[in-house]
Amino acid sequence: MALLEVKGITKRFGGLVALNDISFSVEEGELRGLIGPNGAGKSVMFKIIAGFYRPNQGQIVYQGEDITSQGASAVAERGLVRTFQETTLFQEFTVYENVLVGCHLHARSNLFTALFRTDKDRQKAVVTKTSEVLEFMGLTDRKDQLALNLPLGSQRALAVAIALAAEPKLLLLDEPFAGMNPEETFQMMDLVRKVQESGVTIILVEHDMKAVMGLCEKLMVLNFGQLLATGSPKEIRSNNRVIEAYLGSV
């Protein structure tokens, strides 16, 4: 059974059809890429999968369960987490606090425990987890810095760290390489690989072709809300319709 099945998703905004009958499935452990020209509908697809939008038609099936009508936080509870297109962090918190928030699902207090601090063990476990995630993403040195003071590469790493803290099984990365120079791209690619190796399935939306071709085993190409092609990087590179779509949009 595939980890994620997208079945016949259609999304309209007024008269505009953003996604037209999109179907695909992602197996556990994959690093799948989703590419396409601007406005193709990639982010919309992510938002629907992660529960921020409702589709007009179609279903999202995750681990065999229909999650189409579920909201974002419910979906995250099931291990499906997304990152955001522009760098979305808790700018006013430190790096450490950012990841701490990410641990929410395991650190939840109710009113009683919050006031009387009776769940010390659980909070301790959370502290440990936070340190682990920071270590994993190479952010330990910066843990007391304010998020807004970080360089771009670290900010993106932090965004992934927050998502990781929520212990996702399926991670949706929305253009993590945007605006990066080659060195930062290289480092980010390493991190993404590391995350995949730790057992997380990843779907990656990206414009940066080098990153996408270098990371993903399988690619999907979206254009004007239609799924143009699915295949290995090599196949996609030589696919005429894909080439046309990219050249045509210039």
Partner: protein
Amino acid sequence: MINKRTSKALGLIALFAFLIVLPFTLKFHQQDFLIFLIINILVVVSYRLMTLTGEWSLIHVVLMGVGAYSSALLAKKLGLSFWLTMPLSGIICTLVAFLFSFPLFRMKQFYFLIGSFAAGEAIRLSWVYFKVPFGGPKGLRYIPSPKFTFPGLKEAIEIWEPIPYYFLTLTVVTLCLWILYRLENSRIGLTLHSIHWRDVLAESVGINIWRYKTLAFGVASFFVGIAGALLAHYLGTINPNQFAVGIMVYVLIWVIVGGTATFAGPIIGVTVLSIVNEWFRAFEIWRPLIYGCILIISIMFLPEGLESLPSKLRGVINRLLGKEEIEVNVPERMEKEEEVF
């Protein structure tokens, strides 16, 4: 070498020493003012809890009235002691809040604002309309004062004079603020702040916004209900006009001018503005206009509130000294973060 923690503790002790001595140096109507100020501090700090989750409601002052009326009625009709009616009125307020949270929280942004205004006004008009049990437009009178006994005392001490009531209010409000402060610095507080700064990001890691909005609403209502009880038993009479939308607007002004990012923000706002208000006592008629102007100036030129002044000043000083300025790109507290929706 005094470290931060010790200096904080010393500061608090100094503050309390000051607060304990203060009433004895004041005239009668100033002592009154002080009591109302302390009650209003509880009102604004509880309101701020709600605004952290992004809910700016207009029902808060009416809920204070719910607390006042509940406590008054429980004391008058059922003869319960103040020490019982006060927490009970807080609980009643929370229940009323929960009742309204189901319909209200389904509304977006300023539909919620209008909806909460309508709900509050409907409640308030019921007090006007139903002479039984609310007393109608004239309200309730002869609300009993709190009584204080301990073994060995022949007669219970009635707490109704300003100075004893001041200490009562100070104690109750300090306890409430302590609870709210602890909440602020707990895991729940962190979650509420994360909702405040980036609710979409918070959602993506599994934070159920609706749940926390309801929690904040319930807790805020509990404490504003207690504030209402404190008010009712001091004044001895309450009427619907005391909880009208005009007062709600004052609360908004105090909170906006003070700022909502920190715990102390609203406290600064209400204290500064209340003192300014007292100065202008001679210009009674002009006061709403002055308040209106302060509100407008505040929103336009200091939207992050008085609490942001220290860091702004630091920034100015740093610039004057030629130090490098850190780009602080804090989003407008007011603006709804326009995510890529």
